[in-house]
Every structure is written in structure tokens, then in C-alpha cells.
Amino acid sequence: MRFRLKRDELYAVLVILPSILLLAVFVYGFIAQTFRVSLTDWGQTAALSLQPEINYVGLSNYADLFGGFLNIRFRQDLTNMVMFTVLFVGLSLATGLVLASLVDNLIWGETVLRTVFLYPMSLSFVVTGTVWRWLLQPRGGINLLPTLVGLRAGQFLWLSSRDQQLTFDWALLPHYAVVALLALAAVMAGAAVLRRRRRQAAAWGAAAAMAAAVVATGLSRRWQLLPYSEAHGFSTALWGVVLAAVWQMSGYTMALYLAGLRTVPDELREAAYVDGASRLQIYRHVELPMLMPITVSAIVILGHIALKIFDLIFAMAGPDHAPTSVPAITMFLKTFRGNQLAVGAAIGTILLVIVSLLIVPYVVTQYRGDGGGRA
């Protein structure tokens, strides 16, 4: 029996080994290789020749992307990506929560309505993009909806608008970071004072004072990323992409929240009811707090989808449309249209680092030390 188990364990390792090797090469090996390529100038000259001349150029591709004169589009890409992610995740969570709360309290038709809210999840982003591209034509589709009830047609240029809101100067990003730190430290210090935590208050207060000094002396304004000012901001053309993406994915958050609401034990609800809580109070104080862990999962899952978004924008606005472009799109253009493989590799690496900031803590806490349960 014991001998048998030892032999079985050997078989087990042999069975899983091919998968582990494949993933070691295709995930980790290729990530390392991408990083290596990103440190070269591959693609600047004769990228497609059989023996391309490739030189090591250090981090200059990265420096160019963040501070080079020609890469203004990439910096707007990053801005778009952040804005899209915040809006998409926030609105998907809010919509999903509303839908789940409604569906959970229906008198009839729960199955049908749940199916309706969730069906967009089964579509590809390319189909969604194609259909919404038609719906968001400025002189038709959604903009005409108000006319059906006698109002004036909408005028918004959903995908083609060139407007930017919340503009900021890319050169001053370090300055903004210091100001943000100042605000955070001040708030934390205030909270610590209120809670009578002297040590914490002192630490945060010191941080706030330092940040304030850096701002007041004008030091932070001198750490400029660019030698000139360069305006970036929220590209309003993104609203169209956000709308389509929320339409597609809010059913997913609904399903998550609905599953969460169903795990709230009835005894808990009844106990609160007996204590005289109203339905809204039960919702607010019993059900909502139990949805917090689900919200964290949903933020991570939706967040990484948003940061990587590619197909939806490709299908809705095309890869060449700068107002809705994101790093994933520009990576595609640089690599496969421009043959600038090293620049594409650098963008891929930047994207990986950003996504990892979100994913690694999640994966580690969710799946660490959990190798299964054989007694």
C-alpha cells in the first residue's frame, strides 16, 4: 500500500509535468524573453531580414515611451487605460449591484430577467463592438432615442469626439503625486488624531509636512518628466467604449452579487426583522456588508479585463483611432504593423507590470498554500 502510493506519486508528477513545462516556457520564459527584446533596438532597422542586426540599448525604449517626443500617443494611451478602467469597473460594480438587488426582490420572472441581464457575457467583444459601433453613430442609434418620446436628438459624438476633460500636464506627474501624497497624509493624520493614536498621527503629520515643504519650495514642480508641458486628459470618446463594456460585463457582477446575496443566511435577515429593522435597513446593514469580499474579487477580475482591453476598442473604433486607443492597441500596431518589435515588447512589459500590481496580491492570497486536500 505504502509502496503503491509512492509509485502513484511518481505517476502524478509525470502526468502534470508536461503542463508545468509548457507554462514555464510559454508564460515565464516568454515574459523573460519579451523583457530581453524590450532592451534592444530590434525593428529599428531591417526587422524582417533573416539576420537582423540587434543591439542592446538598455532601458531607452522605456525612456522614449514615457518621455520621448514621438510617443505622445502612448502617454494618452496610458491615460485612457486608467480612465477607462476606473469608469468601467466603477459603473459595472454599481450596475451589477443594482441589477442583483432588483432581481433578488422580484415577484415573478426572475429566471427570464437574469438571463436577459447576463446574455451579453456570452458574446465576443468583437460582436459587441460591431453592434455598438452601429448604435453609437452620432446621427442615429442611441442619439435618436430621445426623439421617440418627443425630445430633441442627442448630439454627443460617442466614439469620434476629440474633447478632453480633466486635463493635466504629463511633465508635472511627479508634482501631482506629491500633492496626492500630501492630501493622503493629511487625511490619515486627521483620522489618527480623532482616534487618539498619537504615534500614527505624528508619523502621518511628518509625512504631510515633508510633502508640503516639497510643494511649497517648488521642488516638486522642478522634477519634470518632460522638458515641455504636454496636456493629457480624459478623452470623452471613451464614453462609448465604457457604455458597451458595462452593457457586456455588468451581468457578470450581477451574477457575482446574486450568488453573494443568496449566501446570506435567512436567520440573519429574520433576526434583523424581528429586531424591527426595515427592509431597506436589512439591505443596508445585513446584506451589503456581506458582499464586500465579492466586491474585492470583482474589482480584480474586471480591473484586469479593463487594463487589457483590446478587441472591443479594435472592433468599435478601429486600431488607428487615437482618442480611444490604449497601450494594448498601440502594442499591436507597433509590433505587427510597424515591425518595431522592441517597442512592442516594451509596451507589453509595461502592461504586464501594471496588471501584476493588481493580480499578484490577489492570486497569492487566494491560491497560496492550498495544494488540495488529501488526508
Binding site: 506519486e9 502534470i16 426582490n105 415573478w108 420572472g109 427570464v112 430577467l113 457575482l256 474579487s297
Partner: protein, 274 residues
Amino acid sequence: MKRRPSLFSVAVQTLAVLLAVAYLIPVYMTLNTSLKSPAEINLPTAWQLPSELNWASYVTAWTRFAPYIKNSLILAVAATLISAGMGALNGYVLCKYPFPGSAVVLPLIVFGMFIPYQAILVPLFQFLQRTRLYGGLPGLILVHVVYGLPITTLLFRSFYAEIPDELLNAARIDGAGFAGVFRHIMLPLSGPPFLVVAIWQFTQIWNEFLFAVTLTRPDAQPITVALANLAGGQAVSWNLPMAGSVLAALPTVAIYVFLGRYFVRGLLAGSIKG
């Protein structure tokens, strides 16, 4: 705690139905536009029903898209079966035969399903060219199998965790080894899990675009690429992209409608710890 319909319940019901109508707007517009004749399609009358049904767009879309739908079908079925099969074995191992280091291996595997594929695309492209797999379906199947392994492994592992170890031990006492336990205990219980995993993988692979657009030559392109190419062209009348969208969406929507329960289970299992 069901009581008679209150004002609150009626308001909830009404709001939910209105939202459902809003969620169905794209379906209405897609079907409506696809059934109009090209001459009848213009922006101001986009919402109006066609004066007469014109099915010709579907005929055109079908003749145009059939080869790409076939590509997608071959790709999705092959990659789904292979990755699900390997995922079942991996899940079995990770769940029932933990080995030294397996606790570290799992998060390392899972990480692979979250990475932006832009971060591996350049070496992948080089690799496929060197192995002469670039451009065709076999190469794309390989890619989808490999990058499908994390999710299939994870799903099967969490399903298999529900099979009690006593059952396995009983089989071992009867003389079953690693393969015997899998064959006689795990496999007979793998029906629903396999369905969940297969539905998930099929939907993902059918809908995938990035690998499809970067790693295939025109004759091996899946339907998503063909549709994006058609709709991306400026001169096209909208009836054809809409009919094409319906064709591209049909398989996964059909799966969702008829096997929705399993679809949702896969959806939730991927994000809530099972």
C-alpha cells in the same frame, strides 16, 4: 418572507423590466438592421422596422463567413477538448496527489490566466515562425491549449476537491492505482465539471481575438477576425456586419441559452474560490 405585493415590490418589478428592455436594445437593432434591404438602411430611420423582411444579408454573410466559422469550429472544439482533458488530469494531481512544491505551483499556474498576452506575444510569434506553426490552425490550437491550461486546471481542481478522499482510499484498498482511481472514481463523476469547463473554454476560444488576429494567415482566420475586417471597412452597408454578428454570436448564445446553468457555474467558479 413573501408577502403580498407592496408598492415597493411593484416598483422593483417595473424598474427591472425596464432595464431588461434596455439590455435588449442591441438585439433589436442588430436583428432589425440585418433584415432590412441596404437601400432602406439610413441613420434617421434606424429604429423603424423594415418595410419587408430581407433575408438576403444572411445568405451573403453565410457564404462569406462559412470558411471562417469552420475555422473557429475546428479551433474551438480541438483546443477545448485537449485543454479540458489536460486540465482534468492536472486538477486530479494537484487535488489528490500534492507533491513537494505543489502549493507554490498552483498560484504560478493561475497567474498565467491573468497576464496580458501582449507580454508574451513577440516571443510567441517568433516561436511559431521557427517551428513553422505560424499562420495555421494547428499553431493557434496549440496556443489556446497552453494558455487555457491555467483555468481548466483550476476549475477541475476545485471540482475534484468535493470528491471525498475516503472514496479514493476505498478504491486504493481494492487495488486501484493512480490511473485506476482516475478511471473508476474521478471520471464517472466528471460529467458536469467537464461540461462546465468545456462550455467555458469553447466560449472563450470562439470569442478570442488577439491571438486570432496576430497569429493566423487569412485562410486560417477565425470568425472574430473576419467579422472585424468586414465591419472595419468603411464602405460596407450595415446589414452585412449585423447579419455577420448574428452568425458569429449564434453558437455561444445558443450554449448560454440552453446550458446557462453550467455557463454561470464556470463564470462564478473562476472568480469565487470553489
